[in-house]
């Protein structure tokens, strides 16, 4: 950034318009503005700050020219503005900030709500293009938070050299070299990594692994149980085959033949009765589970009674359809064909029927439900009769089965007690096989129960595994994010440290070089350091820290060296605007500063008192001054005029 021109309008003591061009040649890059105390040097300095940033003007009183306010009539609008044109990166810009106020009766001014700030880019053909985001643009060119290192107040120039200034030095390096951006990125990434770590901690439980393990076990168990069930089924079939073989053998043995044939009949009968019992129980189930209406007969009666009341009141039309009545009323004609008039008894009667009648759909519903509910009573009776018969039959079947079982047991006992060993042995074997079948059946029941349980467990596990897989994907993603954030934060941290150290050392070297150039006691001071804690220190010839002993002028030179070193190292093209920079310097250091300072800035604007720039100091700058002005303060009007010194 290089300033080109500033136009002040009604800004403090600059009444109406005052203009000033800045020197910007490579050779003549210094602009000197002379002014006695109170002539307007600080106002000009403030005007630059206010124009670009709208800031830096706190606690300086009214900005609008008092003369302009005085000259305005009550109700008139008073306009104050600062227009600054500058060059940056080969482009030319115009920035203008305007404040408007209304002159009040008491001589004060009522400021309009907010200042206007516009910025234009001047294109190659001279056309001006409005910049939509002027604040963002100016901050991109020379950020507000580093401006004080370029536009600085000479009164505060020794700030960096004060013993307690480590924080300011660090901040200056941070801001100018954008270390803050790196630090912010590191902090942000570390926070993100920490958040991801926390999230991972809460979500990583190895749940999927446990679930898969559990699932594997359950499936293994299920497989075993199913295999066992198949084995048992085969065992039962084998036992039944053996029983059939025994039965066949018993049929063949003369002494057992009769009993075995009797058993065959009993068992056939038992089979039939059991089947009949099952059918009967099914019928009982079908009737009983759908006979709910048998327990709410009072509610059915109550509903029917209400419906009956409606019918008795004529609300449920008995054979008179609503549409039919509506047609009679529309035609104003009785069923017999006789016409009637509006308001006649016939007409009124029909209207009453319509009023009392239920809507068509309800009418149908009522008629239908009444009929159905009436049929319920009959249905209840029928169901009762059927259920009674079925329960009776069931009881008979149960008794029959008991009797048949007893007969079968008796036959078995007779065969077992037979005096013929083979018969007895066969029957005993048969009984054992039957016992085996019973045992197998019990085991089958247990296995079936277990298999169902395991299948249910596996189904549940599958759901949980699917969910855990989803979680695992999320965990993996989280893990990647965490890793990335942490590595990036670590990398930035390393980069930051390296970069910060590098910058610190480079600034340190440059500060030392400039300090040596500017200071008059160069042989007394051996070194300038910026410690890792960002303390700016000067080492004397005895190798001891000398900063506490520095004079005000020496501190100013040290600060100036630091600032210009930063400007050089940062390679930012920016003007150095210094308000009363040499106030505390005696002639020797002033001569040194004026000799070298123009080389240390791309553009130098010096706001000086008449005392600050004289003799050798003035002679040193002579060849580098492009523009020179005097701020002429008129005590009669309290206004300042900028007068160019013709050279």
């Amino acid at each position: 950034m290089k300033f080109e021109r500033i136009i002040l309008e009604n800004f403090r003591q600059y009444y109406v318009q005052e203009r000033l061009d800045f020197a910007k040649d490579n050779q003549r890059r210094v602009t000197v503005i002379h002014g006695v105390n109170g002539a307007g040097k600080t106002s000009l300095f403030l005007a630059i700050n206010w124009c670009l940033y709208g800031e830096g003007v706190d606690n300086v009183g009214e900005l609008i020219s008092k003369e302009a306010i005085k000259q305005a009539s009550p109700g008139d609008t008073v306009t104050m503005s600062v227009e600054l044109s500058f060059l940056h990166d080969g482009e030319r810009y115009l920035a203008k900030r305007t404040r408007r106020g209304t002159r009040m009766l008491d001589g004060s001014v009522q400021i309009n709500s907010s200042d206007e700030f516009i910025m234009m880019r001047i294109l190659w053909d001279g056309q001006a293009q409005s910049i939509k985001n002027p604040i963002g643009t100016i901050n991109a060119i020379l950020p507000s938070n580093i401006r004080s290192y370029y536009l600085f107040d000479g009164e505060k120039i020794d700030d960096f050299a004060k013993p307690e200034a480590a924080k300011e030095v660090k901040e200056a390096i941070y801001l100018v070299f954008k270390l803050e951006t790196l630090d912010r990125a590191r902090r942000h990434l570390e926070t993100a990594a920490s958040d991801y770590r926390k999230e991972l901690k809460t979500s990583t439980t190895g749940e999927l692994l446990n679930l898969l393990d559990e699932d594997e076990k359950a499936r293994g168990e299920l497989g075993k149980k199913e295999n066992r069930k198949v084995e048992i089924t085969a065992e039962i079939q084998a036992a039944r085959r053996k029983i059939n073989d025994i039965d066949q053998r018993l049929r063949e043995i003369q002494n057992a033949k009769f009993l075995q044939q009797q058993r065959d009949r009993v068992e056939q009968d038992l089979k039939q009765r059991r089947s009949e019992l099952e059918d009967t129980q099914n019928l009982i189930r079908d009737i009983s589970t759908t006979s709910y209406y048998t327990i709410v007969q009072p509610a059915i009666e109550r509903a029917l009674s209400l419906l009956e009341e409606k019918r008795e009141r004529g609300e449920i039309p008995s054979n008179i359809r609503r549409q039919f009545v509506q047609d009679l009323v529309a035609q104003m004609q009785c069923i017999c064909g006789r016409p009637f008039t509006a308001g006649s008894p016939e007409h009124q009667r029909l209207l009453r029927i319509l009023d009392n009648a239920l809507p068509g759909s309800l009418e149908d519903d009522v008629l239908e439900i009444t009929a159905t509910l009436r049929a319920f009573n009959e249905r209840i009776l029928r169901q009762r009769s059927e259920l009674t018969i079925l329960m009776k039959r069931r009881a008979e079947l149960v008794d029959l089965i008991k009797d048949l079982d007893a007969v079968s047991d008796d036959i078995g006992r007779q065969l077992k007690d037979s005096q013929f060993e083979e018969v007895s042995r066969l029957e005993l074997q048969r009984e054992n096989f039957l016992t085996d079948i019973d045992r197998y059946n019990i085991e089958t029941g247990e296995l079936t129960r277990d298999i169902e349980g395991l299948k249910e467990k596996i189904a549940q596990l599958e759901k949980r595994i699917a969910q855990a897989r989803k979680n695992e994907k999320r965990e993996k993603l989280l893990s990647i994010k965490f890793d990335l954030a942490q590595k990036a934060a670590d990398a930035i941290k390393d980069m930051y440290q390296t970069y910060a150290d590098d910058m610190r050392l480079r600034i340190e070297g440059k500060t030392k070089e400039i300090f040596k150039m500017l200071i008059w006691k160069d042989s007394h001071f051996r070194d300038v350091c910026i410690s890792r804690d960002f303390e700016l220190e000067v080492i004397d010839r005895y190798g001891r820290p000398a900063r506490p002993e520095l004079s005000a002028g020496e501190r100013q030179v040290l600060s100036l060296s630091f600032i210009t070193a930063m400007s050089r190292i940062s390679e930012e093209e920016a003007p150095l605007v210094m308000d009363t920079p040499f106030g505390r310097l005696s002639s020797q250091p002033r001569n040194n500063v004026t000799r070298y300072l123009p080389e240390l800035a791309d553009q130098l604007v010096l706001l000086v008192t008449d005392e600050e720039l004289r003799d050798q100091a003035r002679a040193n700058l002579e060849s580098r001054i492009g523009y020179e002005y005097i701020l002429e303060f008129d005590p009669k009007t309290s206004c300042t005029t900028i007068v160019e010194v013709r050279r």
Binding site: T290, Y292, Y293, A299, I300, F376, Q383
Partner: protein, 139 residues
């Protein structure tokens, strides 16, 4: 007139009662789980609620167990309508299916616990306990 668009089609129960519905319908042993469908359990629970005169509003956690179309038009629907008329003393409730359903659901929501107590918690097999209830109703 009833707004056709807003006519409810689903029959809901409290989520908490769902286990009882499952217990009474699941499995192949008709003596232990006598009901064939959840609709049958619902109808029985409704009637038991009506018989005992107890209703209970459904909680927020509801569950749809079947649709209106599963009701038998010759038995279930007339029964539900009769219950609604008896409950409201108003014939026009017949025009409001949502009300008919809500009344039934509330009776069922109370009746289901009675059904569990009578069938599953009483001595004896659930089917015969059910037969006993039906017989008592008849007699």
């Amino acid at each position: 007139m009833t707004d056709i668009v807003n006519i409810r089609d689903t029959v809901t129960i409290d989520e908490a009662a769902h286990e009882i519905y499952k217990q009474l319908t699941e499995g192949s042993n008709l003596l232990e789980a006598p009901f064939k469908t959840m609709k049958d359990v619902f109808m029985f629970a409704t009637c038991l609620g009506v018989k005992l005169g107890i209703k209970r509003q459904l909680t927020i956690k509801k569950l749809t167990i079947f649709r209106w179309a599963q009701f038998d038009s010759q038995t279930d629907i007339p029964m539900l309508k009769a219950i609604a008329i008896a409950d409201t003393d108003d014939v026009s409730v017949l025009l409001r299916r949502n009300d008919i359903l809500t009344i039934a659901e509330e009776y069922a929501n109370a009746g289901i616990y009675e059904l569990r107590a009578s069938l599953l918690e009483e001595y004896g097999q659930p089917l015969w306990n059910l037969v006993s209830i039906v017989s008592q109703g008849i007699n």
